[in-house]
């Protein structure tokens, strides 16, 4: 399973903070984005950063592993 996390403004638009996506060998970040982004286009329009296992990732071709944790995040506004 891939764990997908949402926070703050993105969580508000998706109306959940966490979902599970079935893992399949060879799956890329792009596959997850396509899968979830289609269901929540309004939420993904404000996604500015993506992290895999707490590390920012820029390459959507990144290959995922089972039990990875992905976070879709709006621009940070801490401090």
């Amino acid at each position: 399973m891939i764990k997908v996390l949402f926070f703050g403004p993105v969580a508000d638009r998706v109306q959940t903070r966490e979902m599970q996506v079935e893992f399949a060998p060879g799956m890329t970040l792009h596959d997850v984005i396509a899968h979830i982004g289609m269901q929540y286009p309004g939420a993904f329009s404000i996604v500015s950063f993506i992290a895999v296992n707490q590390q920012q990732v820029h390459d959507k071709q990144t290959v995922l592993h089972d039990n990875d944790e992905i976070a879709f995040m709006a621009k940070f506004s801490g401090g």
Partner: protein, 141 residues
């Protein structure tokens, strides 16, 4: 002794943070700090409360990296970063950054770099609660 990098609900004491910094070295000549607090207005609207949310595990890891990078980059003797994640009202403390160095230039440069970078790199979001409703803050570019 408290950890030098923390995310917490509770308020913090500058005196305690400074005392903890000083323990690390007798060569400290200057400590620059930045304290971010909640204002009672934002872009012309009254703000009654500000509520914070964090991606806790990633935020803490980023803050720890930030501290190490600042120590290396500016030759700091020590540094601390504390961010509250809770709901605050006008005047309440939000974030504390401290940079200790032999001389003041490095302390100021390191402190300012850490708060600038924190805002760019640490996954924390703030929501302003006003009499007209709530809204997530969209940072300026």
């Amino acid at each position: 002794m408290s950890e030098p990098v923390r995310i917490q609900e509770a308020d913090f004491s500058q005196d305690e943070e400074i005392a903890a910094l000083k323990v690390s070295s007798k060569s400290i000549g200057g400590i620059a700090t930045f304290l971010g607090c909640a204002r009672d207005f934002s872009e012309g609207r009254d703000v009654s409360e500000i509520s914070f949310e964090a991606y806790g595990s990633m935020a803490l890891a980023e803050m720890q990296k930030l501290r190490s990078e600042a120590i290396d980059r500016f030759g700091l003797l020590d540094a601390r970063i504390v961010h509250r994640v809770t709901t605050v009202r006008a005047g309440d403390n939000i974030v504390f950054i401290a940079a200790a160095a032999e001389h003041r230039a490095a302390a100021f440069d390191g402190c300012r770099w850490m708060i600038d970078e924190l805002k760019q790199r640490v996954p924390i979001w703030k929501k302003e609660i006003t009499p007209q409703g709530e809204s997530w803050v969209t940072p300026h570019p």
